[in-house]
């Protein structure tokens, strides 16, 4: 057992932190507020690629650094610390990782080098209306068409779909769930922009008898659900890592602000009621951080991590919610003033809370596992 970072892990963390803190600032984020400009920093994406960070978990054979999910999660955490306007989770976790794990040699050679070099983007469509489980799609159907498939249905909140070379998604067939790589420019694909509070570019993806060639089938009905479950757990863990970054920064911003802000002639941080609410955030963030690192560590080591991922996601939802409101409250009006940087963190904390299942939903899922005897304490 070791809670410290290896030298390589610290290198990844430091490199990411230095690039992100140099290139992301409230001034640079401001023009993307309210969709006035697209929330995507191409220069930053290019710099991350140049530094090798986009390929941190991509094999060297495909232009990456060949590290694992732990190192990638540290990049995601740093992206959370700055709420960087780049698609680290959709592209690098939800799409590139399963492609590398389950893709054919041809698929990997065709699609992964572009991700590592920043020249092309991948994304994943994980959500349907009232269905947040991509391993069991209900509103997207596919049928066999030669060696490929024809797919129809609707996915929601698909990040960066307009820029993606391929969109990884699941569909139900008569034989089971398949995982497909859909070209957003293919005939029958419609992208309708959705406006979400983080200002991340997201889309409703409408598929009307879209042809998917054999070369773009990632997994057939024998393996599709497994692939989607695999990537779903990693995406959940990555959302938790992002939440570690956002909550830690929001909490520390609050601690600094209350240490400076004076009322009754003293810093408001000296009021016990203020200090204690901040202390609760500290405990919360530590619990989230440790549960996240545990989930990531197990996933990196190839161990079963379903319970640990669910538990981390429950904490990510609860802690995001509590830290968001404690931070806003302890800042007084400043916390909600759009000229002060906190509010943007609050929308991202909410995003991380809600994506792939809220705390209530995930508690219910964990509860079912407990009832089935699958989640005893060791």
């Amino acid at each position: 057992m070791n809670f410290g970072f290896s030298e390589e892990q610290r290198d990844v963390q430091n490199l990411a932190r230095s690039i992100l803190s140099d290139l992301v600032s409230p001034e640079k984020l401001k023009p993307t507020d309210r969709y006035e400009n697209e929330r995507f920093d191409e220069e930053l994406w290019g710099k991350l690629a140049e530094a090798g960070l986009l390929g941190v978990a991509i094999d060297e054979a495909h232009g990456g650094m060949g590290f694992g999910f732990m190192e990638l999660s540290l990049l995601v955490e740093e992206a959370g610390r700055t709420i960087a306007p780049v698609p680290v989770i959709p592209a690098l976790v939800s799409a590139a990782l399963p492609l590398q794990k389950f893709g054919s040699d041809e698929q990997k050679a065709r699609l992964l080098p572009g991700v590592a070099s920043g020249k092309s983007l991948l994304t994943a469509a994980l959500m349907e209306e009232q269905n947040e489980n991509p391993a069991a799609p209900l509103l997207t159907k596919a049928s066999k068409q030669g060696e490929g498939y024809t797919v129809s249905g609707v996915k929601l909140c698909v990040p960066f779909a307009h820029r993606a070379e391929r969109i990884l998604l699941s569909a139900q067939t008569d034989q089971g769930v398949v995982a497909l790589l859909v070209d957003p420019k293919a005939s029958g694909v419609t992208l309708n922009a959705m406006k979400v509070t983080t200002y991340e570019p997201q889309f409703e993806l409408v598929l009307d008898k879209v042809a998917v060639a054999a070369e773009d089938v990632l997994a057939g009905p024998d393996k599709g659900a497994e692939v989607m479950q695999w990537l779903s757990e990693r995406t959940m863990a990555a959302l938790c890592a992002h939440q570690v970054g956002t909550t830690d920064v929001a909490m520390r911003m609050t601690a600094s602000y209350t240490a400076e802000r004076k009322q009754f002639g003293v810093p408001v941080a000296t009021f016990q009621a203020v200090g204690h609410r901040a202390a609760n955030c500290f405990i919360d963030v530590e619990c989230l951080r440790l549960n996240t690192y545990q989930a990531v560590s197990r996933l990196s080591g190839g161990l079963n991590a379903t319970n640990e991922v669910q538990i981390a996601k429950i904490w990510a939802g609860d802690v995001g919610h509590r830290v968001s409101y404690a931070s806003q409250h302890l800042h007084g009006g400043m916390g909600i003033d759009r000229d002060y940087p906190l509010w943007r963190y609050c929308t991202w904390m909410r995003h991380n809370e809600m994506m792939l299942g809220s705390s209530a939903k995930t508690l219910s899922d964990l509860g079912k596992r407990i009832a089935a005897g699958e989640a005893f304490c060791s």
Partner: protein
């Protein structure tokens, strides 16, 4: 970063689990239950001596002190397993005072006290609080006055838990009046409870657990009894408390209790058909406990690891204590809800159910450590100051 145990640590845990399964005979369990989970009975003492002889109490201690030379992580695994087994382990002695004595004790203490702690032959209670000094501990009034070669100790302590069967009290005494900086006039002593000037009266608590008021009437001790430097007691107190806080919130018993309640709910029939655990609200309660205990486990493990690196952070120790103590209260409530109204039926009732009665009592004892071991308000002050660099109010 690798949060999982090594194979050796897993093997140690399995070995300890088997060891304690054998050690906790029904007779010993019954005695511990009778003694309200505090220990002190003859079978309890016998078992402690056996653990000492088998080299477990000091598994994570350096070999030169009589330990097995493993790390604080292995020590933590040992404590987790013993507490999971339901044995009231005297962790205040072994995990908090013991290490302080090993580090700061004098030759006499290292020769006569430390080895006996590791063999299970010496038990030590903590004497800090007084009728007029609780959270503001530095205002304590029990005095140690030098008289020739000896120290003469007079005063009264409160909440001296376990003292009625301990050999010594780790006693905080005033050795110098210092009105401006009262914590600078405090020294630590090991005071024998066998001294005729020592006495205790019981204080009975809501949870049925006995604690004590203890009295110190002209007790004479030599310099051998002083721990650390004259007027240097405060850092020994805070060091001891940091270690105590981690032991207080050990996750072993809760993990075990959770597993027992899950099994019980899986087996228990509902009169309308189906099992108790089929109900959504039961699953939600259990899931909340499961998610919470996982965090507690990790908070504890991280600190055991930090100790092995020599880097235990004060804010982390306080965070563990606040989180764990407040979580336990919610655990007993949530698991008690699953049990239903039977979780108010005492173990003395004719138709008592073992698991329900256990939770019934734990619910009554749960508040002790939200204020014991340093009240949670002070812990939160420490967290905001040491963990978040927020300025503190003058007091």
């Amino acid at each position: 970063m690798k949060v999982e145990f090594t194979p050796e640590q897993e093997a140690l845990r399995s070995e300890l689990r088997a060891y304690f399964d054998e050690l906790m005979t029904p007779e010993l369990a019954a005695e511990c239950d009778r003694d309200m989970g505090e220990g002190g009975g003859p079978l309890w003492r016998e078992a402690l001596l056996k653990m000492g002889k088998d080299g477990w109490i000091g598994v994570g201690w350096p070999k030169e002190l009589g330990g097995r030379g493993m790390s604080p992580i292995e020590q933590f695994i040992f404590v987790e397993e013993i507490m999971r087994a339901g044995y009231p382990f005297p962790f205040l002695t072994t995990e908090s005072v013991g290490p302080q004595l090993a580090e700061h004790g004098n030759e006499w203490q290292k020769k006569n006290i430390v080895p006996k702690i590791l063999t299970g032959e010496c038990l030590i209670a903590i004497g800090y609080s007084e009728p007029g000094a609780g959270t503001d501990l530095a205002r304590l009034k029990t005095t140690a006055v030098k008289d020739g070669d000896e120290w003469v100790i007079n005063g009264q302590k409160m909440w001296t838990s376990l003292a009625h069967f301990c050999d010594y009290v780790w006693l905080a005494c005033r050795t110098e009046e210092n009105e401006a900086k009262p914590h600078r006039g405090i020294s630590m002593f090991l005071v024998p409870t066998s001294d005729p000037g020592w006495s205790a009266t019981p204080v009975n608590t809501l949870g049925g657990v006995r604690t004590n008021a203890t009295y110190y009437d002209n007790i004479r001790v030599s310099d051998d009894a002083m721990v650390g430097e004259l007027n240097g007691g405060w850092k020994l107190i805070t060091g001891q408390l940091n270690r105590e806080r981690l032991s207080l919130v050990n996750c072993g018993p809760t993990q075990h209790l959770f597993n027992m309640v899950v099994k019980w709910a899986q087996q228990t029939d509902l009169p309308q058909g189906g099992k108790l655990i089929d109900q959504d609200w039961v699953q939600m309660n259990l899931a909340k406990v499961r998610a919470g205990v996982e965090a507690l486990k990790l908070v504890c493990y991280k600190q055991a690891w930090a100790m092995s690196e020599g880097a235990l952070e004060m804010a982390d120790a306080s965070a563990a204590k606040v989180y764990g103590s407040e979580f336990f209260i919610e655990v007993y409530r949530a698991l008690g809800e699953v049990i239903g109204q039977f979780s108010t039926v005492s173990r003395h009732s004719d138709n008592a159910q073992e698991l329900a009665a256990k939770i019934e009592r734990m619910y009554r004892t749960a508040s002790i450590i939200t204020f014991g071991g340093g009240t949670n308000e002070i812990q939160r002050d420490i967290i905001s100051a040491a963990g978040l660099w927020m300025p503190r109010a003058a007091r």
